[in-house]
Structure formats: structure tokens, C-alpha cells
């Protein structure tokens, strides 16, 4: 930005010297600047440029807590993969897995039933949608239906990918889980009660001081008829910003991404399940997939309404994952156990990167945010939500 002003100041001075004889001041319109050259650049050039209007400063605390959500989901994926690995080598029997799965689901369901009404008011849209099941009976019917379907199709799944090599399947599953993690709805920005200290409408005029003519002073010259509402131009953009949040409830991007996320995770789960030795193995693994990827996200989101849980759950999951990974990699047995523990180290490094380095970079690099706004921006229409409009836009 500074480049232009420096470049121009000299040229402008020379033009100003030439224009001294013309008393009529230049005005920003297309009809009464006779006598000025077409490429004349006035002092008011880029006067209406604003920077970082919608800027919301994120503090370290919020950044770390948000990053914890990524870690949490990463842990779920790693734990799931570990479960696959241990079933593949035969450490865990499918029946054990199913028992554990049943107990966890029942426990979760009971906790949910008690907690849900407490947070009902502040409940997030999507968690409400998936939990408004009604009575225990209907929920039970749903569970039985899903289990029956899973049980019926698991022999098919078992032989589904027989012709494809294991490497391919593992690669596909890895990609699917990465897609799951990338598109998961971490609820950024629409989670209630997070300590966002919003310093919105923080606009600074970037024009150098010698151009100084404040935006609001120009309004004096505007004839009465020119405006039906006399709003200083600075507030115009903030109005636009306000309308953006209020007028676009339908365009919540998290809906599409969370669907994609769930699909990717289930695809990965099916890929892995098809590698196991028997249909009952596949069925057990798929049931866990349903638990881990379909039921746990809204449940965890519900728990996150209680602030300490935002730190505690990712931390607990992280410790559990590191421990399981450590056990699966053979613990401290053998001569070269340090070499066997490389996956543990990798996992810790990844989590450190995600949870410490990334939030720090995000917070530090906020100063480089340089969005520019001006009269050329597309206005965002403020639509009143009258009855017919809602019908139309849906």
C-alpha cells in the first residue's frame, strides 16, 4: 500500500503545480471536472480504502483451546486405527470389542440424557438435531436397525475389497481419515461461550497523513437530496458486516463439511474392516466406527459446554492415545525398544506441532492480516426475514 502513496506523491505535486491556475476543485464524479486531465490523480485518491474491518483478534487461550479440538479428533482417529491393528493381529476378540462398545454407548447415552436438558438453551444446532430423538424406545429401535443392517452386510464387506492389495486399502483409509480430519466441523466461530474477545470494526485509514481528510467530513458537501440516510462512510462498511452475520443463516458451511467428514471417516472404516479375518471382526470394527465418528462428535460437543472439559477431554484422549500406541508398539520389551517407539515420538511431535506451534503462529501472524475494503466491494444485501422471503430462499 505504501508503495503507491510514495510513487504518487511526486507526480501529484507536479500536477498540482500545473493546476494552480484552475480554481475549480476536483470532485470525484464523472461530469464536472472539465480542465483536468483524464489521468489526473487527486489527493483524495484511495481515501475510502479501509483495512481489516472484520478483524477479530484471537488470543492465545482461545487459539490453544480451538487447537485442542483438532488434537481430540486426531486422537480418535489414531485410537481407531490402533483398534484395527490390534484386531488384525488378534490381540482383541470381536466379542470384547462389541461388549466395550455397548457399555460405552449406554454410558454415553445416560450422561447425554442427564446433561442435554441442562444445555438445551445454549445447545448448538447440529448437536440438537442429532439428539432430539425423543424417547428411549425410538432410540433403541434406531440402534437395533443399524446393528442389524451392519450385521447383515458385514460378510459382504469382508469380501468387498478382496481383489485389492492391502497397501492400496491402507493408503485409501489414510487419505479418507485425513479428509475426515480436514473437513471435520470444529465449530470455529459458532461455538457458544468461547472467550473470543472481539475487537470488531477496528478500521484504520491507511492513507498517509498528508492526504488527511477524514471520511466523515466529506459528507458535509453532500446535498440533502443525495442521501436519504446520512451515514458516515466508515460506518457503512460496519453495517454491511453486521448484516452479513444476520442475513446468511442458510449458508452455514459446516453442514456440508461435516457430512463430507462423516462420509470420509466411514469410508476409511469400511476399507479397514474389509481387511479383517472374519465377518464378525468387520462388524465389530464398523460398530466402533459408528460410535467414534457418528455418535461421539455431538456428544463431545455437548461436554464442551462445560469449560474445563475443553482442556480435559483432549488431554485425556492424548494421554490414552500415547499409552495405547506405546503398548501396541511393544512397550519396553526387547533390546531395541527405543526404535520400536518411533510412532509414539512421531505422534507426540505431530500433536506438539498442531497444538503448540500452529496456534502460536496463528496468533503471532495475525499482525500480517491485510484485508482491504472500499467502495468497490460488493454490498451484502440486508434481507428482512419476512415469511415469504424465508419460503423463497429455502
Amino acid at each position: 500500500m505504501r508503495k503507491y502513496s510514495e510513487m504518487d506523491s511526486e507526480a501529484r505535486r507536479s500536477i498540482a503545480g500545473r493546476c494552480k491556475t484552475k480554481p475549480k476543485p476536483w470532485r470525484k464524479n464523472l461530469y464536472d471536472n472539465k480542465g483536468y486531465k483524464d489521468n489526473y490523480t487527486d489527493e483524495s485518491f484511495l481515501e475510502e480504502l479501509r483495512k481489516n474491518i472484520h478483524f477479530q483478534e484471537v488470543h492465545y487461550r482461545a487459539a490453544f483451546i480451538k487447537a485442542g479440538l483438532v488434537t481430540q479428533q486426531l486422537c480418535v482417529v489414531v485410537l481407531y486405527s490402533l483398534l484395527f491393528a490390534s484386531m488384525d493381529v488378534g490381540w482383541i476378540e470381536p466379542v470384547t470389542v462389541l461388549y466395550l462398545c455397548g457399555i460405552t454407548t449406554t454410558l454415553g447415552y445416560i450422561i447425554r440424557t442427564f446433561l442435554s436438558p441442562r444445555f438445551e438453551r445454549s445447545c448448538h444446532n447440529s448437536s440438537k438435531a442429532s439428539f432430539s430423538g425423543g424417547s428411549i424406545f425410538t432410540d433403541l429401535v434406531t440402534v437395533i436397525k443399524c446393528l442389524a443392517l451392519g450385521y447383515i452386510v458385514s460378510p459382504v464387506l469382508k469380501t468387498l475389497t478382496e481383489t485389492i492389495s492391502t497397501d492400496t486399502i491402507q493408503a485409501a483409509a489414510a487419505i479418507a481419515f485425513i479428509v475426515h480430519l480436514a473437513t471435520y466441523d470444529y465449530g470455529i466461530g459458532n461455538e457458544p461461550g468461547l472467550p473470543y474477545r472481539a475487537t470488531s470494526h477496528k478500521s484504520d485509514v491507511i492513507a498517509p497523513s498528508h492526504w488527511s481528510k477524514s471520511a466523515s467530513s466529506s459528507d458535509k458537501t453532500v446535498p440533502e437530496k443525495y442521501l436519504t440516510e446520512n451515514i458516515p462512510s466508515a460506518s457503512r462498511y460496519s453495517r454491511v458486516q453486521g448484516s452479513k452475520t444476520s442475513s446468511l443463516p442458510h449458508d452455514n458451511p459446516s453442514r456440508t463439511t461435516s457430512a463430507l467428514s462423516l462420509n470420509a471417516a466411514i469410508f476409511g472404516a469400511i476399507c479397514l474392516a474389509s481387511r479383517l479375518e472374519s465377518p464378525s471382526h468387520a462388524f465389530a470394527l464398523l460398530s466402533v466406527a459408528g460410535l467414534a465418528f457418528a455418535l461421539s462428535p455431538p456428544f463431545l460437543r455437548l461436554l464442551h459446554h462445560w469449560p474445563p472439559a475443553r482442556v480435559a477431554i483432549p488431554l485425556a484422549l492424548f494421554i490414552a492415545t500415547v499409552y495405547s500406541l506405546f503398548i501396541c508398539c511393544g512397550g519396553t520389551d526387547g533390546e531395541d525398544w527405543v526404535e520400536n517407539q518411533i510412532p509414539v515420538a512421531l505422534f507426540i511431535i505431530v500433536v506438539a506441532f498442531l497444538n503448540i506451534l500452529c496456534p502460536c503462529m496463528f496468533v503471532l501472524w495475525q499482525t500480517h492480516k491485510d484485508n482491504i475494503y472500499g467502495p468497490w466491494d460488493e454490498a451484502i444485501p440486508l434481507i428482512q426475514s419476512t415469511a415469504h422471503n424465508v419460503a423463497v430462499s429455502d
Binding site: L30, D38, P375, E378, P381
Partner: protein, 452 residues
């Protein structure tokens, strides 16, 4: 000085729109001022080859397939031989590209510069900076304009936008507005409904034109004023919204949807109305409000982009782009109309015809041509140097490749083997603005003698 101009753009008739209008009208006026003008565009359906339009405006419809949004795929090398052939054949001296979205314009300008020609670019649109597509498009524009000789914008807001987007020096950007053929857009108050007030809307029915606002406003205003009717010309993906609103509020009698209209029919629609409503969300210039004002209508418009610069305050009611403000503006227009406080249609027409005419635009564009034709010719090295500024270094390879292909073509298809096309005879006597054309005939004959 007589220039040989090539207007290059993906957008030209039979396509309809502001850019097409601009190119056609500007070309006609430049021809009338004694210049030679050809238009370069891609083929439209079976319209391929050369066509002559009024006053010998030669249009080349290049046989290139459309890639996306009426634009050709910018391959840089594929259409190079053809463009080179045409530029040499027509002995072009200045290339004038139109519209930032037109890839053909950018391609032709880059090839033209490598051939040592001058290039001028007119930007017709505004663009934001916020999303990914804007960032990419702006980078492309920056690359393309890095070495351009001059830019023209249609409004001061457009100039600010172009200087920021393409990082061109602000003294290299001129502001020359569009104009309106005021001889066509004349008022005719006898066509108006005597006891009703008709609000006319002429626009494509797309999101950017604020159709969502339009729907709300029509429903609300019709319930407040039983004497107000709406006349809407234009078509687009958002037409369904308007139709649905009309059904739900049972306004079939009062809201007329005319659908897509020929540009020549627009005047007859405009004169039927008292008030013109424009709800655009972004607009570099907005020809529609000037046409409406020229037909003597009260114009109510959103205050976005370059619109506040276009008409003087006594011809337009400017409002914020939201429903209450626009309704307020319309109510003021209606009450002024009832109290007879507004200018008469004839007065409006008179004022607009003083403000804007194409001959003025053409003479101002001529000044730009004069400036660029005096600039020194850059060799390949200094051209490449100006592309370095943009920071996309691989593009230097593209330019170099184009240059090498041009040299190979100079050997394969030598310049002296390319037929020089005969110029269309100068236009009839009444088009001549002054006798300067007669003076220019002599050097033209000399040139012909030299080439033959």
C-alpha cells in the same frame, strides 16, 4: 494522426451487455473521427470469420472455442499465429483490450506488445480482494497489465480498484466514463400512464443486481401504494424469486415481467415509466441509470461502486443497499413526483445529453492513443523486466516462448507474404466531425504506394 486500432475482447455482439455496447459505440465514433477500427472476438455459434458492421467496422470472429463464461482458454501459443496474422494484415498500431475477464484481450495485448505495438486496456468491472477467486484473478490482471502502456477505467472508483488490483501506476490510468446515445434515449411523456405511477426496472436478474432486494421492495411498496405498478425487463437465474413473490402477494396485475429484451426495445420500455429503480450490489459505472435519466425518469439507485459519480444529485436518489433505505428513496421519488417537484423529462434529457456523449468519449480516448503512440518501443529485455515486477517468474518463460514462436513464424510465414487488407472507404460526408480527415488522406496514399 490516424490510428489503426484493434479492439480485442471476448465480449461482442451478438452477446449483449455494457462492454459490448461500449466497444461498438466507441468504435463507431472513432471511425467517424477518421481512424481505422477492427474488432477481434471469438466465434459465437456459427458466426465465424469476418463480418462488416455499420460504417465498415470489421469484426473478426476467431474460430476459438469458448472455455468458461464466454471466455477462451488462454493458451498463449495456440491462437498466436492467427492473431499475429490479423495484426499484420490489418497493419494495426494500437491494441485496445476490453474487460478484465476477457482472456482474448489479454492474449492479444501480450502478443501485440511482442510485435512492438502499443496497448491500451479498458477495465469495465470492479472486483473485491477477499476471496480466493479474486486473489487469482487479480494476480492474472497484474501480470497482464505489468507492461501495458495505458489503462482506462470507467469511473474513479474503478480507477482506485484497478490501481490496487493490478498495481499499475495511477498516472497510467485514465478515467473515461461510458456514454449513452442520447439521440436514441429520448423522453416521451405521452407514453406514461396518467393516473398510475410506473416503476421500471431494467437489469439482468442475477444476484449482483440485487434481485433479493428488489423482491422485498416490490412486495412492500405495492402494499403501501395502490397506485404504483412495476415493469421489469430482463431475465436471469433469479427470475423465479420475482415470479414467486408475485404469486404470493397476488400482484399479477401490477407487476409485469417482460423477460429478456433487445437493447433497441429498452427505450420504449423506459418511457412508459415514471421512476427507474436500480438495486445493483456492485457496479463500475451503470449505464442503465444514465439511459433512464436520459429518458426523463426519476432514478432511485443504490449507492455502490461508481454509481455516486455518474449522475448529478438532482437527477438521482441515492440510497444505501438495503430495503428500508431503498423504500425511503422510492417514497421520496413518489412524493416529489406527486408534488411536481422534480425536473421535467425534457429537462432531464437535456442535462444528461450535456453530460455524456460518445463523441466526447472517443476524443478523450484519442488523447490516450496519442500518449501511448508517443511512447518508445520496448525491446524484449525491457518487456521481461516489467513482468518481473509482478513476481510470477515462470511467466517470463511464457513470454519468451511466445517471442521465439513469433520469430519462427517470421521465417515460416514472412510478413511480406501476408496480404495487406484494403481499408474500408472512409465514412460518408455527414459523419466527419471536421475536415481533419481530408488532411490525413495524403499520407495514407503514400503509405499504400510504399507497400505496393
Amino acid at each position: 494522426m490516424r490510428h489503426r486500432l484493434c479492439m480485442a475482447s471476448d465480449f461482442f455482439f451478438p452477446n449483449m451487455g455494457g462492454v459490448e455496447e461500449h466497444i461498438y459505440s466507441l468504435s463507431q465514433c472513432l471511425i467517424a473521427r477518421g481512424h481505422k477500427v477492427i474488432v477481434l472476438t471469438h466465434s459465437y455459434g456459427d458466426r465465424v470469420g469476418v463480418r462488416y458492421m455499420t460504417n465498415g467496422l470489421k469484426v473478426y470472429y476467431l474460430p476459438i472455442k469458448v472455455f468458461y463464461n464466454q471466455c477462451v482458454l488462454p493458451t498463449m501459443v495456440a491462437s498466436l499465429p492467427l492473431i499475429r496474422y490479423i495484426l499484420i494484415r490489418e497493419r494495426i498500431t494500437i491494441i485496445h483490450g476490453h474487460s478484465a475477464f476477457s482472456t482474448l484481450a489479454h492474449e492479444t495485448m501480450i502478443i501485440g506488445r511482442l510485435l512492438g505495438l502499443r496497448t491500451v486496456f479498458t477495465d469495465h468491472s470492479l472486483f473485491g480482494f477477499a476471496d480466493a477467486s479474486a486473489i487469482i484473478t487479480n494476480k492474472f490482471l497484474e501480470i497482464s497489465l505489468a507492461d501495458s502502456h495505458h489503462c482506462i477505467c470507467v469511473s474513479h472508483t474503478g480507477k482506485e480498484n484497478t490501481v490496487l488490483r493490478a498495481r499499475v501506476h495511477c498516472n497510467k490510468v485514465s478515467v473515461i466514463p461510458n456514454a449513452v446515445d442520447t439521440a436514441v434515449f429520448t423522453p416521451d411523456p405521452s407514453q406514461r400512464d396518467k393516473d398510475k405511477i410506473t416503476v421500471v426496472i431494467v437489469s439482468r436478474l442475477v444476484y449482483r443486481k440485487g434481485v433479493d432486494l428488489m423482491v422485498e421492495i416490490i412486495a412492500e411498496l405495492c402494499s403501501r401504494y395502490p397506485e404504483v405498478n412495476f415493469l421489469i425487463a430482463g431475465d436471469g437465474p433469479k427470475r423465479g424469486l420475482l415470479e414467486e413473490m408475485r404469486e404470493q402477494c397476488s400482484l399479477q396485475e401490477r407487476v409485469t415481467l417482460l423477460g429478456s429484451q433487445e437493447h433497441s426495445a429498452v427505450r420504449d420500455i423506459l418511457v412508459k415509466g415514471h421512476i427507474f429503480l436500480n438495486t445493483s450490489l456492485t457496479e463500475a459505472y451503470c449505464m442503465a441509470i444514465v439511459e433512464a435519466a436520459s429518458c426523463g425518469l426519476q432514478v432511485v439507485s443504490t449507492k455502490v461502486g461508481g454509481i455516486p459519480e455518474v449522475l448529478p444529485p438532482d437527477l438521482v436518489y441515492l440510497t444505501e443497499p438495503d430495503v428500508p433505505a431503498l423504500l425511503n428513496g422510492l417514497e421520496m421519488a413518489i412524493s416529489d413526483l406527486k408534488a411536481n417537484k422534480c425536473l421535467t423529462p425534457e429537462k432531464c434529457h437535456e442535462r444528461v445529453s450535456i453530460l455524456y456523449n460518445w463523441m466526447d468519449v472517443a476524443s478523450r480516448t484519442e488523447t490516450v492513443y496519442k500518449i501511448v503512440s508517443q511512447e518508445p518501443t520496448k525491446n524484449l529485455g525491457s518487456q521481461l523486466k516489467s513482468y518481473i515486477k509482478s513476481g510470477v517468474l515462470p511467466f517470463l518463460l511464457v513470454i519468451s516462448l511466445c517471442y521465439i514462436i513469433l520469430r519462427i513464424l517470421d521465417w515460416l510465414v514472412p510478413r511480406d507474404l501476408i496480404d495487406i487488407s484494403r481499408d474500408f472507404p472512409l465514412p460518408a460526408e455527414q459523419f466527419k466531425p471536421n475536415n481533419c480527415i481530408i488532411k490525413q488522406r495524403k499520407p495514407k496514399k503514400k503509405r499504400k504506394a510504399r507497400t505496393s
